[in-house]
C-alpha cells in the first residue's frame, strides 16, 4: 500500500485530541482565575505561569512537589465529588510541606496525565485544586494536562502538584533550636490524608476494577458514625496553614513535621537536631475509627501502623513548654502529645501506647 493511497493518519487517530483538550483547558481557566492574588500577573496561556514578587530583602523560596498516591484509585471508583476531593488534597499536601519550613504559599502549578481527556475528572480535579488554593492564599498560575494513551488505563489518571512559597531567612523553621523538655503538639488528621492507601486498599479489598471497588467502598465503616468506608478513606487531607501560620509569624514554633509517607516514625526525625529524640504518649490523642478498622482487619503490627499511617496526627509542632498553652488555645483540637528528650538512639521516635505497650 503506497503512502499516497493510505488513509491519512491524524493525531486524533492516535488517541490525542488537541481540540478537546483545548476546550477543557478553557473551562478550567476560570477556576484558576478565581485564585488570583496580589502576585498574579498575566493570563493562563503564556508559555510559563507568571508571578510578581515585589522588591524586598533576602528571602527563601520554599518549593515542594507532591502527588496523591494511590488514594487517586479511589477517586476513579467513586468519581464525581471524589475528583474534586483529591484535587484539594494535592494542594493541601503541598501547602503543609512548605509550612513545615515556616513558608506561606505564593503559587501552585499542577500536572495531570490521563489516557484520554476526561472532562468531568479533569475539571473536578482543577476545581478542587483551585478551591484549596483559595483557602491557602496560593495563586494557581499554570499547569500541564497530558493526554497519554497507552500509559494510563481508561478512566485512570495521575496528578502532581508543585508549590512555591516564601519565608524570610530569620523565620525559616528547621527544628535546629529544638531542645530537651520542649513539647510536641499534635494536630488531628481527618483520616489517612494521602498516605498508606496501597495498604489500606489491600486491607479493605478495594484493589479490583472500579465497579468492584465501588461496592466495597459503599459498606458502612465499622465503629464509624455512619460514614461509608469510601467516605472515611477519602476524608480530606487537611490544610494546617490557616491555623498554624499566625503562630509561625509570632515566632513561637520551633519545628514542624508534616506527617505523610513514613508516618510519625519517619517524619518526626526530619525536624530533630542531633542529640534529642521524641517520646509520644498515644493515649493523649484519638485514633480515628478508620485506622482502628484498618489495623485490626489487616492485623497491622504497631511499628508498621505508625510508619504507614498518620494514626490520627497530621502535623506536629515543637514548642517551648511556656508556649504550649498558647498554641493549644489557638488551634482547634490541638493537644500536647509528647516531649523532646535528650538521647541519640537509632530509633528517634518512641510511642507509648496504653493498650499495646511501647512501639519502639
Amino acid at each position: 500500500m503506497s503512502a499516497e493511497s493510505a488513509k491519512p493518519i491524524s493525531y486524533r487517530d492516535a488517541g490525542v485530541d488537541i481540540d478537546q483538550a483545548a476546550r477543557s483547558l478553557g473551562a478550567i481557566a476560570g477556576f484558576a482565575r478565581a485564585t488570583a492574588t496580589a502576585g498574579t500577573a498575566g493570563e493562563i496561556g503564556h508559555f510559563g505561569g507568571i508571578f510578581r514578587l515585589p522588591a524586598g530583602e533576602d528571602r527563601l523560596l520554599i518549593a515542594s512537589a507532591d502527588g496523591i498516591g494511590t488514594k487517586i484509585k479511589l477517586a476513579f471508583a467513586i468519581g464525581g465529588w471524589a475528583h474534586k476531593r483529591v484535587g484539594g488534597d494535592l494542594v493541601n499536601h503541598c501547602v503543609n510541606d512548605i509550612l513545615a519550613c515556616g513558608a506561606r504559599p505564593l503559587f501552585f502549578l499542577d500536572y495531570v496525565a490521563m489516557g484520554k481527556i476526561d472532562s468531568e475528572a479533569l475539571e473536578g480535579l482543577v476545581e478542587g485544586m483551585a478551591a484549596a488554593c483559595g483557602v491557602n492564599g496560593a495563586a494557581l498560575i499554570g499547569g500541564e494536562t497530558a493526554e497519554m494513551p497507552g500509559l494510563y488505563a481508561p478512566g485512570e489518571y495521575d496528578a502532581a502538584g508543585f508549590i512555591v512559597g516564601e519565608v524570610s531567612p530569620s523565620a525559616f523553621i528547621d527544628g535546629s533550636r529544638i531542645e530537651p523538655d520542649d513539647l510536641l503538639i499534635g494536630l488531628p488528621s481527618a483520616g489517612l490524608h494521602t498516605n498508606g492507601f496501597s495498604l489500606a486498599r489491600m486491607i479493605v479489598g478495594a484493589t479490583g476494577g472500579p465497579s468492584q471497588d465501588r461496592e466495597v467502598l459503599a459498606h458502612p465503616l465499622p465503629g464509624g458514625d455512619g460514614e461509608t468506608i469510601g467516605e472515611a478513606l477519602l476524608a480530606p487531607h487537611l490544610t494546617y496553614f490557616p491555623q498554624v501560620y499566625p503562630l509561625v509569624e509570632q515566632g513561637i514554633i520551633l519545628g514542624i513535621a508534616h506527617i505523610t509517607g513514613g508516618g510519625l516514625i519517619d517524619n518526626l526525625p526530619r525536624m530533630l537536631p542531633d542529640g534529642v529524640v521524641v517520646r509520644l504518649d498515644q493515649s493523649t490523642w484519638t485514633v480515628n475509627p478508620i485506622f482502628r478498622y484498618l489495623v485490626e482487619t489487616g492485623n497491622v503490627e504497631p511499628r508498621e501502623q505508625y510508619r504507614t499511617f498518620n494514626m490520627g496526627i497530621g502535623m506536629v509542632l515543637a514548642v517551648r513548654p511556656a508556649d504550649a498553652q498558647t498554641v493549644c488555645d489557638a488551634i482547634s483540637d490541638a493537644r500536647v502529645i509528647g516531649e523532646i528528650v535528650a538521647g541519640s538512639s537509632e530509633w528517634k521516635v518512641t510511642i507509648e501506647q496504653t493498650i499495646d505497650g511501647t512501639v519502639s
Copy 2:
C-alpha cells in the same frame, strides 16, 4: 479468621517498599547536590526544597510544569541510556518554556511515579535531569518519588518537571512589541523533542509490549545517516537557553515561541499581538529525516504535520529586521524562516511549502 491469628500485613506486602525507596533516594541525592548554584540553601530531605533569593527590585517569577508525553514509552522499551535521555528532555522542555518569557532558570523539582521502584530507571532519570539542570544553571532542589502499585504497569512510570525562573519586568517577553515586517528566526530541533509521540509510535508500529517495540525501534531509519528509528525518535529535546539567553539580555528578542504540542501552528500565535499573522517559508529550513519518514509512512496531511510535530523547528524568535543577522550569527544553524505580516485571519500561521503548496 480472627485478627489475632492472621498474618500481619505490611506496607511492603501492599507493594510499597519505603526502605528500598529510601536507598534509591540516597543514591540520587548526589546527582542533585552536583547542581548546586548560588541560590542553593539546605540539603535535600527537608519538607520543602530551599532556594535563597537575594534582596532585589521587583521581579517576575516564571514557572512551568511539563511532562515527557508518550516518548516515555520508548524509554521503557529501550531502557539504559534512554531513561537518562528523557530525564534531560524533561528539564530542557521546562527551561525552554520559561525562556519563552525571557526568564533564566532558578530551580527545578521533579515528580516520578512508578508501579514499583526501579532503581535503574529512577537513577537514570534523575542523572539525566541533574545533567540538564547543570547545563541550564538550574538547581535541582527537590522532588517526589511515588510508588503506586496498580496504577503503573511493571516497568512503566511517568515523570513531571517543575521549573521556576526569574526575569525583570522590563525584560519580560510576551511578544507585545511584535509588528509587521519583523522577522522570524527558526532554531533547528534535533527531532520530535517531546511531542507527537502517540502518533509517531502508531506510525512506526511501536505500540506493543517492550520487546516488540524494541524490535521495531532497532530498524535503521530510512533516509537517515545510519541511526535506528529508536535513536531518531529519542533524539534529545534541545535546550535553547545557553545560546538564546545572551540575546535576551541584549534586549533584541521581541517574542519567543517554544514549539511543543500543537506545533508551529498552535504555538506561534501564543506570542503574537492582535492584528498580525505569520508567514513561514518551509523551503528555508531542513525537515529532519525522521519527520519525512513519519509523514510519508503515515500519510499525514500537511496541516496535521505542522500541528503535531515541530517539523524541524524547535524554537522561533521574533526580531526587528536590523537584528536578524546578529541573531543568526550568534546561534548555530539559526536562519530566517518567515515574517510577520499585518492581518487578522482565523489561522494565524501560513506555511508555504515548496513541494506541497500552502498549508493554510
